[in-house]
Symmetry: C2
Amino acid sequence: MSSGARFGSVSIQNRRERERAERHQLIIDAARELAEAEGWEAVTTRRLAEKVEYSQPVLYSHFKGKDAIVRAVAIQGCGELARLLRQARPKQSESRLRAAAEAYLEFAEKRPALYAAIFVLEVDLPWGTDEIPQELRDAFGELVAAVQPVAGERDLETLTEVFWSTLHGIATLTHGKRLRPSHHEARLDLALGALSGTEQEHRL
Amino acid sequence: MSSGARFGSVSIQNRRERERAERHQLIIDAARELAEAEGWEAVTTRRLAEKVEYSQPVLYSHFKGKDAIVRAVAIQGCGELARLLRQARPKQSESRLRAAAEAYLEFAEKRPALYAAIFVLEVDLPWGTDEIPQELRDAFGELVAAVQPVAGERDLETLTEVFWSTLHGIATLTHGKRLRPSHHEARLDLALGALSGTEQEHRL
DNA sequence: CCAGAAGTTCTAGCGTTGCTAGCTGCAAGA
DNA sequence: TCTTGCAGCTAGCAACGCTAGAACTTCTGG
């Protein structure tokens, strides 16, 4: 039965592709886990190969090189950040801006390796020129939505860039132990107060 | 003449120490130049040794390891940043805050390798725990002085940390091509306007 | 059912990295 | 002048990212 044989062949091919996709994801997850457990400097192709129980060259049949693996982790991490920001709804009298800021900074602090992959490591995510991945667009979109209520006459996108810059600065300087941990809340109050154009001292 | 011989010996020892100090600085300068010309990933112990015309082990008689060399470059770069900030006096009706911000961002953009050594690379400069080098203290002090006029009732040091975070965020995100270059001025206007608690649209 | 083709995975190794053990040769002191 | 000490070099280690080519598995045609 030639058509049956052909169908079977296609099915097998499908299974192959599925298994290949699973292994692709397995590599990404292993890289993320290793980075989160021991930092990106511990993520070597050898250790990664050992963790996924394949030899090194298998990694290169899925990714062009180590950078491409980090990039894949970063993009998926970006999706996770976007999801967290979307879920960050203000509680009580808290402003949406503050809810977003706290979610962003919590992500940066709790998942430093993931945050570094996205925003710190120089892996050249296609931000500017190329097709920007949807995950990146989503994450920025959430920030825009959080800034919108306080923008007033000011240009929304530009103000969002300033908001993001402040958050990113706080996140990276905190991670590098450059800021006084005891004043984290006070810094956020000042930053949010300034950006929302009010002078009030307490939570917005 | 025994005292003469002794004096000569001390003199020779002085010369030795002086030459050693010069070579120490030669290594630091070579590392900085190499990094500024080709980026930190091009700074290898072999290339550095070749540039200073000594063998690799000589580097290790001056510094504990490659990280220590980067640290030394970073600390001296910090002194340079502090000097630039001190010299950045507002022109015309420009605020001191703006003058400092522009000097800071110009340093980050014009000397990216130096900026990275100080603030981005994870070389663990002794910010928090240890004795903080005077250069670091000076640089932060200049920022405090620039923020002081607009602080008002707000805590000066905390507000300076926010100011610094915003500058650092803008600097690193700009370097990573994450922000729209065309809106650089507008971002600075918004950021400075927000921090100084005014709503005015034009230059402060 | 079997031999050859096609595709997949592994072994082994290249060039480079940061770093160091140990030899060599020069200069200072007795 | 002989010895001692130390400064600097040669050579090499382990680990890195990455790859060529062998070896194995799986599918196909006779």
